[in-house]
Symmetry: C2
Subunit: 770 residues, 2 copies
């Protein structure tokens, strides 16, 4: 854990310049708008270590697979998020000096991210080696209103400097990827041009031929008065830009506003792309800074109106949950089903910017309930539907047939991009969370159109996979699922991982239920699907057989589900036996030692108890929690929030709060000592889930919404909105009372504790806690 | 399987030129002398596909590890056998044409390897595109007498050509490795020089700074008359050589003899290395071709006198077994404990020229009994002793302490060079075969000096490893060995692999026995060892506890040892269910499908029944054989010979013969369709083991040699020598009688069938079969 940021309700503040934590700070201050994003890099030159990163949604680079020993079935390529040409650069030059925070002396440095408005500020005074002191103020946004725009205002006031000063705004492709095999060059330059009023850089990735064009124009102000000097044009092969200068005296101020438009071949025909970027940047300049900032702020205001969570009495939790909501909305806006949410959002390159099951586990339930716009959750499902053909192809590569689908572990376009056999081929439980969210979407949103139009096909393809993937053990007279890796990746190639087996049984059950429902309520759609995918209802017979005879490891003596065959043969230590200096174990222990130990990377059995929560009584959850939680090292961001929810459910209040704080401030406090690589964007949704499912105890049972609130002792009040079947609810929960308002939609009956209440529109319901 | 070679008792013959099988032919016709070796490459230019390879013992190149996902504990480097500068080249030029078998027309092509003399011949007529016809005869040896010498005689007779002809003998470093990560350049050139009477090329590998210097001189003959013309010198950065020419008319002959000396920094101080190579090549020339050929032939004669196996009535088997004995002796001569036997000998680059447990499994018993020179077997053991420190270091890296040793899976110098976690960290049974051969060596050779001086330290270090590596299962109340890969590499990360557990128990038992023996018979040595390695006899208590309580999976119903926990939960098909087009499965199935199947790559349980054969009764062996053999695909060369031995033991004669032929002609008939990569050198010893342990039924029980012969029906007679405790025995076994002669050493009592016989020196014992 590391603290170098101030706690504040609406802001992330770095006070004083922390050169040693620059990469961490760059991760934290990342900006984005769902379409593009960038790390919190300095606009000006910085000659010391830094991790420059700008990323554009849907643009990938296929990197030839690197493995020591090839296994049949490995994909030929891994996909990388290519580090795009840096569009933020604005160098600042005095007559013969250049601003560089690595070498100039710095005073009163403050970096602040205003989450309410989505604006990143930097304010500081600097003195050059020659003694010239300047005061600098910077504002930077990625527009939430016009998704191709990045806008930067860079103001410099002279304290004691008299002489020539110039800004050098530029776009440069002279960047490198933090991660790529074989040191291949990622970008080919198509064109780089600087004219009098705009400059653009147009590049293309190898192999996939994805294109990005960034263009910019600018305004220059002296003492807040716009002036126009003919600039010096910069036009190199790898960079375009200008040098714009004037003379300045103490007390005077110069300001540059940079209007950048970043467009890609995802949205534009390649013949129009450069003109689009140029036109958009010019249009932005014509609209002007103030208007653009206003529309950006308005967009954020709308998001917060729907999605804010107010926590009174716990400023750390308050800042953390807002930061998580902020980053999730920066990474995904839900208007394009071709885009998904990478584990690191637009804040780093680890995991190649690919989609993983994190999306379904964390983000889908967040976007499903935190906004009235059901498209956000639905487009994540459509993303998977669009890749169904490739999931079928993927299963085929591994030897499965008859329309069986295995969704990839990580993907950019539906093809598998991972290449550790124990994960790629074996961590197949991922199929089930995809099935689960399809069913959840209909249940929570009340919108059945996805299942009917797309989802049932996905469900059947997944069941077809399981139907072939299970095998029958003559010895046990049971179906078994052999050679899998469960959610806990500190075990590989195990037999009968309980989570995998149980989630498979549930997938089969819920699919059959949904087949019956669609057949009954949407008969013509059902016929269409059946014909399209040649579905024979007799297939269900085998599924039923599997449902009834699938082996589920259970230990009678301990009364717990057993993580996998043989798990109880291990030395069953608890994590308090690990010396402090050896955590996280993945940074200290050899891989075989990790595999042999009983320690669990991330919730596995307990994940099943969270996802299929309604199937289990409190005692079962408690017994399993008490057994597995003390053996879980939480060395994945997908873990603490799950345990926090279950801890809250079984009344382990302290534990629940501790795990919640871990999940909520994972990046702000750098729990896993890996913040420099970027944020844990997808799992940020987990903290929101802890509040909703853990502290407020939200459940949906047979279509009915219930609450069982028990907020942390420290909190005076928790206030948030949630959305359920075309209704919007405003909740305010204190230690004393539970208040709920139905502010949009038809009347709704809810259950609070054991009691049922009818909510009428615009009437607050207040229930005092006994 | 592929046949393109003629069967012949003493020769390997390729009749007619098989351009499509050139790489295969280059593998088959490989030459070597234990110190260096080379593939059967053409001396002259060949412009089509070929795999040029020359290798020098003990010279390696460290290649940075290439993996997709790093696991803690991986070694930083993989070691490669660097493809040395090609020292065999002799180009042949006419006035404006150059001999090239890829483009010239060829007649009467015969390539022949005379195994008796260790000489490779090529004879053919060629006609150039311009119609010039030549008759060519080539002889090539790697001297078995002077291990730094390679000698080539290249004779050309003109049929219809009149004009200028020249030879261009050269050494060139313009070669590439078939296998290397990152396309790094392997060789730096230190010096390349051509003088009037010799030329040398001196090179060095990166990182390890191993050096090779090859020097040569030559003789030139016209119509068998030596002549000297001043040559044209070639001295490029990467090549040295000469062009030596004359004029020739139809009926005339020119001959070049090339004397190459190849020396390395393994044997020479770096300041003397180039002079040594030059001197040696000149010395060779002074001795002359005839004398050098004679001493080479004599060396081979001595090997065959000791090691030949005569099979009468089965020319395929005869050729196969001689080829195997020939290649083993080309790869290892046993006079240098720094050298070992790479899986591919000096015939290819796969597996990086590293030492694997193949050596102990196959080669050690071969060299132990096929020659009276016990140093050959002993030096293989000393190789491991010299690396004990690194094996202890290796175990330490993985978290083990107190002098525990884990020998590497593959190594060039004692450090682990493998990087698949499931093998590197988990295929730890390798430790036990190393222990086993230490004990076997003393038993078969009668020489206890190795155990006393070195071996006991190794045994104790290995037992210390197991003592920490086993864990106690509270559930089973047994010790278990979790997370291993057994010999069958089509299963990874399994629990309680029977072979691993059983061999561990045996290692502990035999070590304790040997500790007791050394303590009793060599008390001062015992004290020395105890103090050196801080051995506390109390350690034995835990070992005893493990011996008595180690879990050994056994199925009561089937009466078989179970390969690993859960194996019987698989779908227990047999290999006849695999469609013919899908064999070998490793070239047709995805890796996960292979893992899930019950199919066994190579003998696993059965390997234990072979190695610890005396512990098991025939019924047990039969039951296990009948269960496992039909599920074994033998996609490793370490497998067929083991099954052949057991099949012979249980009287499955046909099966035994079929598997023997598979093992014996694996490369000659290219069973695994991978001959182009080089030979399966180490496992070649397996075919010899089948004859000895399988067909002749040799066993040693309580120090007594016994025989239980039953040779294949097809064989009239099998005649060979074997060596046991300072005695040399000559055996001749026919369908009717068993004949044995003790021709060296003290009298010996042996058991034949159930009966004991006393052998006296130089008296044949003949026993007629009932």
């Amino acid at each position: 854990m590391r603290h170098f940021l101030k706690t504040n309700e609406w802001n992330i503040i770095e006070e004083g310049f922390h050169a040693d934590y620059l990469r961490q700070s760059e991760s934290i201050f990342s900006l984005g708008n769902g379409k593009l994003g960038q790390r919190g890099n300095f606009e000006e030159k910085y000659s010391s270590d830094s991790f420059l990163g700008s990323y554009v949604g849907g643009i990938t680079f296929l990197d030839p697979t690197k493995v020591g020993w090839w296994k049949n079935g490995y994909p030929r390529f891994f996909s990388r998020v290519p580090n795009a040409p840096n569009w933020s650069g604005i160098h600042l030059r005095l007559i013969d000096e250049e601003l560089d925070l690595a070498t100039w002396s710095i005073e009163k440095y403050e970096r602040r991210l205003d989450m309410k408005s989505g604006i990143s500020y930097r304010d500081f005074n600097v003195t050059s080696p020659k003694g010239h002191t300047l005061s600098i103020h910077i504002e930077h946004i990625d527009s939430m209103d016009q998704k191709d725009l990045c806008l930067i205002k860079y103001s410099v006031s002279s304290i004691n400097y008299k002489g020539k000063i110039s800004f050098v705004p530029f776009i440069s492709s002279n960047i490198k990827n933090e991660r790529a095999n074989y040191n291949e060059k990622i970008w080919s330059i198509i064109q780089a041009e600087t004219t009098n009023d705009s400059a653009y850089l147009w590049v293309q990735t190898k192999r996939e031929y994805s294109q990005i064009c960034s263009a910019f124009t600018y305004q220059f102000f002296v003492n807040n008065q716009e002036v126009y000097f003919s600039p010096i044009k910069i036009e190199k092969e790898t960079a375009v830009g200008y040098s714009i200068g004037t003379s300045i005296s103490p007390g005077e101020q110069v300001t540059l506003v940079k209007y950048v438009s970043i467009v890609s071949s995802l949205d534009y025909d390649r013949s129009l792309i450069s003109q689009a970027a140029i036109d958009n940047s010019k249009k932005a300049k014509a609209e002007g800074w103030d208007k653009l900032i206003k529309s950006h702020k308005d967009a954020w205001k709308k998001i917060w109106e729907e999605s804010d969570v107010i926590i009174d009495g716990d400023i750390e939790a308050q800042q953390g949950i807002r930061y998580n909501i902020f980053q999730l909305n920066q990474s995904y806006t839900g208007d394009d089903p071709r885009l998904n949410i990478a584990s690191k959002g637009y804040t780093g390159e680890k995991y190649g910017g690919n989609t993983q099951w994190n999306t379904e586990l964390c983000c889908e339930p967040f976007f499903l309930s935190s906004t009235p716009d059901t498209n956000k959750a639905k487009n994540l499902l459509i993303y998977r539907y669009r890749q169904l053909d490739k999931a079928i192809e993927n299963a085929k590569e591994l030897g499965f047939g008859h329309g069986a689908a295995l969704y990839p572990m990580v993907t950019n376009n539906g093809e598998e991009r991972h290449n550790e056999w124990e994960i790629t081929f074996e961590e197949i439980h991922r199929n089930n969370i995809i099935a689960n969210v399809i069913i959840n979407y209909a249940e929570i949103s009340g919108d059945e159109s996805y299942i009917v139009k797309y989802g049932l096909e996905v469900l059947i393809a997944i069941c077809r996979f399981w139907s072939q993937r299970v095998s029958f053990s003559e010895q046990r007279k049971k179906y078994v699922i052999l050679n899998v890796t469960g959610p806990n990746e500190y075990e590989n190639n195990v037999d009968n991982n309980w989570y995998t087996n149980y989630s498979t049984k549930k997938t089969l059950e819920l699919t059959i239920k949904n087949i019956e429902r669609v057949r009954e309520l949407y008969p013509s759609e059902y016929t269409r699907i059946r014909e399209k995918i040649k579905f024979d209802e007799k297939e269900i017979n085998r599924w039923q057989d599997i449902i009834h005879n699938l082996y589920l490891p259970f230990d009678e003596k301990l009364g717990i589900f057993v993580q996998q065959d043989g798990y109880l043969d291990k030395e069953l230590k608890t994590i308090d036996s690990i010396p402090a200096g050896e955590r996280p174990i993945n940074q200290h222990w050899s891989w075989d030692r990790i595999l042999r130990s009983c320690f669990i990377k991330q919730s596995d059995v307990l994940l099943g108890l969270f996802i299929y929560n309604k199937d289990f009584d409190l005692d079962t959850i408690r017994r399993n929690f008490k057994f597995y939680e003390p053996r879980t090292v939480h060395e994945s961001s997908l873990s603490p929030f799950v345990h926090a929810i279950l801890a809250a459910q079984i009344g382990e209040e302290e534990k629940a709060y501790k795990l919640f704080l871990h999940a909520t401030r994972l990046d702000l406090d750098d729990y896993n000592n890996e913040l420099e690589q970027g944020l844990h964007t997808t799992s940020m949704a987990g903290s929101w889930l802890v509040i909703i499912f853990g502290f407020v105890g939200v459940r949906v049972t047979n279509g009915k919404l219930s609450f069982n609130p028990n907020i942390p002792k420290k909190w005076n009040m928790c206030d948030f909105k949630m959305h359920f079947r075309n209704r919007s609810l405003h909740l305010r929960i204190s230690q004393k009372d539970f208040t709920i308002l139905l502010y949009k939609g038809e009347p709704l009956s809810i259950i609070l504790g054991q009691k049922e209440y009818q909510l009428e529109k615009d009437k607050w319901l207040i229930e005092i806690k006994k």
